[in-house]
């Protein structure tokens, strides 16, 4: 593989990771304060729509960004009202917000622009343009002929929109806020034991609303990035489950900012690979070996445990072995390559998250008071 190709995949990884990262940090603030947020998807979607719509109307991507942030915060406040003020179920509220955004964006887009649930194409200052850093090459031909270091600088480091840089800056900033400031201390405390915060004379409600609002801001930026930087306009359901993938990344990252960046880059990398190579080949033998090894591992684990483990993992192992057998008989020779379904690459973030949740690879322990409304008791 050429060096430039690797650089380009890296570039694409960053582009695809940024909305995940921003949404993931949004979830991090919210969940660290004890509020589960499965409404990341909806907030991003609403922000993507309004940012595109307002950018188009105003001609300024920055005003669009502000509008996106505003609507996202508004949805956050609804989530806060439901889950903090009225002590409702945080998961249900999140589900509702996702639907609300999915429905409203289409309904409003249709009645506003009459272009079939999309906004008009954005151009010029209504979009965030890539920033070419000093000394970076911007023409493809020049880049192709340049030295590897110049390629790295021009393609990977330079040439992103401002939001990408904001996204990366958000990581150390989030870390600093969480671990080095009074606000961060209190925020983490309220997610672990709100009673401790309350008896210390700090308002649990205010802290949690603040956390939820921060989540709104970050989701707003993420959404605006999708419609005004990554693409040029809003299309129906354009978030494409990124909110849920961000949620998965958050679990994978064990609710920590730096890990979140790593995870989002990893997931972004999967998508970049998937986008770039429609046809990933793998020697059939490898595939069979992987299936058999996984099945054997499961059986080995289950055999020392209860009947339930045996039934479930045993059943799963049988399925894997069946797949392996199907591959053996389905291909002419075991050394021939088989095409990996793109669906598998696309599902990898979800599968990995389940594996992490299962605790087989580093147990993810969520904030202790997560998901529970705070009720005063002695």
């Amino acid at each position: 593989m050429e060096f430039l190709t690797i650089i380009q995949i890296g570039d694409s990884t960053i582009r695809l990771a940024i909305p995940l990262l921003l949404a993931c940090l949004a979830g991090l603030f919210s969940e660290r304060a004890g509020i589960f947020d499965i409404g990341l998807e909806g907030k991003m979607l609403a922000a993507a729509f309004l940012a595109a719509a307002i950018s188009f109307v105003s001609g300024s991507a920055w005003i669009g960004l502000l509008a996106g942030i505003t609507i996202s915060i508004l949805l956050s406040i609804i989530h806060g009202l439901a889950s903090i003020t009225f002590r409702g179920n945080q998961l249900i509220s999140g589900v509702a917000i996702n639907f609300l955004a999915a429905g409203l964006t289409v309904v409003v887009a249709q009645s506003w622009f009459s272009q079939g649930s999309r906004t008009p194409q954005l151009s010029g200052s209504a979009r965030f343009e890539p920033i070419v850093l000093p000394g970076a090459l911007s023409r493809m031909r020049e880049i192709m002929e340049a030295s590897p270091m110049a390629q790295l600088y021009s393609e990977l480091i330079s040439g992103h929109t401002i939001i990408v840089y904001i996204g990366f800056l958000a990581v150390p900033l989030s870390w600093w806020i969480l671990y080095r400031t009074r606000f961060g201390l209190r925020l983490r405390a309220v997610g672990e034991n709100p009673a401790a915060v309350d008896t210390a004379g700090i308002s649990v409600v205010r802290l949690r609303f603040a956390a939820v609002a921060i989540a709104g801001i970050l989701c707003g930026i993420a959404g605006a990035y999708l419609s005004t930087a990554l693409q040029a306009g809003f299309t129906k359901d354009m978030t494409a489950n990124r909110g849920f993938i961000a949620l998965a990344a958050l679990i994978f990252a064990k609710w920590r900012p730096w890990y979140a960046m790593g995870t989002c880059l990893l997931f972004g990398f999967f998508f970049a690979i998937d986008n770039r190579f429609q046809n990933i080949q793998m020697p059939a033998l490898w595939f069979v070996i992987i299936c058999v090894a996984l099945a054997a591992g499961m059986l080995f684990y289950a055999i020392r445990r209860t009947r339930l483990d045996m039934v479930v993992l045993g059943g799963f192992a049988v399925v894997l072995l069946a797949v392996a057998v199907a591959v053996v008989f389905g291909t002419e020779s075991l050394s021939a390559g088989i095409k990996l379904p793109t669906q598998l690459t696309q599902s990898l973030p979800y599968i990995l998250t389940v594996v992490v949740l299962a605790g087989f690879v580093g147990k993810a322990i969520p904030p202790r008071a997560g998901g529970e409304a705070y009720v005063k008791e002695r």
Partner: protein, 366 residues
């Protein structure tokens, strides 16, 4: 001490919640320049104003009965099965395999085995999240969300590569053979010389749905298993004390839940499309959440809420057909119903409790 009478909890609160959701929906309709009153009239006449409308309303309601019951059963064990979507997709796969590859002599046999197969596939898809919740404590909400996406990927792959007849572009199976077609209620009405539900997809699955409601009622309130499920749902620590195995309850409850969600496929896949297509579930799994919430996890409530959502779906479709209001408006209404009946329950409950407390104290003073 009950804070308010049971009827208020079961009837009044959902009613007020739906009313609030409708008011906001009306505002949305108003905001996009349409007349909410006209829209409502159109929805009513389109959904329940004719036997055609009823046919579609009941067809949709059948889907929601299954997914609603699925969520409700799990909820009795305080397990939030948000994976109805994926389980129903897999149920569809179960139905398709049964209908495509086995030559059935008669639809009744096909229905019997397809029902079993759809329930089995749905249950199996719930098995891994259930297993992980039971033995590893992995949060069922997150795992079932992930499994929805994995199911979508799996089906996408199977339909696009394995199950698609050669030469076909669309990722879908071939049409099921004639003997695997289910009679519609119109066919049945025809036996009695009636032409009810003409050219609508509502089919015998509705009757299976009604039977499922009754069975779920017996399961939850009359059987030992139901007793154990409810006990576990109210208090895991107490269940352990009583010798009720949490692992067993989690597994069985979620298998039943997944099975119910999977059974939705006999309605939409076998009864209506008569082949398996991508996105066959169309969000019905999620609507099950709203249906269960509104129906207070009781089969009768679920049935009524399912009909209400069937009405919304059919009414929404009519609305999209005759006005410029997009079909997605029903998603907005659905979101509002979930929000008000589910997450904002206390918004209605707290003031009502105060009202009841006030009337009680004045009555006490007399």
């Amino acid at each position: 001490m009950q804070k308010m009478p049971a009827w208020a909890d079961v009837v009044l609160i959902p009613l007020i919640s739906v009313l609030l959701a409708s008011i906001i929906s009306a505002i949305v309709i108003l905001a996009i320049g349409e007349n909410p009153w006209a829209a409502l009239k159109l929805m009513v006449s389109g959904a329940v104003g004719s036997s055609y409308g009823w046919g579609y309303t009941l067809y949709y309601a059948t889907n929601f009965i299954f997914t609603g019951l699925a969520v409700a059963v799990a909820f009795h064990a305080r397990l939030f099965n948000i994976g109805g979507e994926g389980q129903a997709m897999l149920g569809g796969l179960g139905v398709a395999l049964i209908c495509l590859y086995i030559p059935w002599p008669h639809w009744t046999l096909a229905l019997l085995f397809a029902t079993a197969s759809s329930a089995l596939f749905g249950a199996l898809w719930a098995a891994i999240p259930a297993y992980l919740q039971a033995t590893r404590g992995s949060h069922i909400v997150i795992t079932t969300i992930m499994f929805n996406f994995i199911a979508s990927g799996l089906l996408n792959y199977l339909l696009g590569n394995q199950l698609k007849p050669s030469g076909q572009m669309e990722p879908a199976t071939a049409s099921f053979p004639e003997p695997a077609h289910l009679p519609t209620l119109n066919d049945i009405a025809g036996l009695f010389g009636s032409d009810l539900f003409r050219s609508t997809p509502v089919n015998v699955t509705l009757l299976i749905g009604l039977v499922a409601c009754v069975l779920v009622w017996f399961l939850i309130w009359r059987t030992r298993l139901g007793y154990e499920i409810r006990a576990y749902g109210h208090s895991e620590s107490a269940a352990r004390y009583a010798g009720i195995s949490p692992n067993r309850i989690i597994m069985i409850t979620l298998l039943i839940s997944g099975g119910l969600a999977g059974m939705m496929a006999i309605n939409n896949v076998m009864g209506e499309a008569e082949r398996l297509v991508l996105n066959a579930v169309e969000g019905a799994g999620f609507i099950g959440i709203a249906v269960a919430l509104m129906g207070r996890n009781h089969p009768v409530g679920v049935l009524m809420a399912a009909i209400l959502f069937g009405f919304l779906y059919q009414g929404g479709a009519e609305l999209a057909l005759w006005t410029s209001i997009p079909r997605e408006l029903i998603i907005v209404i659905q979101a509002l119903v979930i929000m008000f009946t589910g997450a904002l329950d206390n918004l209605v409950r707290w003031p009502l409790e105060r009202v009841f407390a006030a009337t009680r104290s004045t009555r006490g003073a007399e």
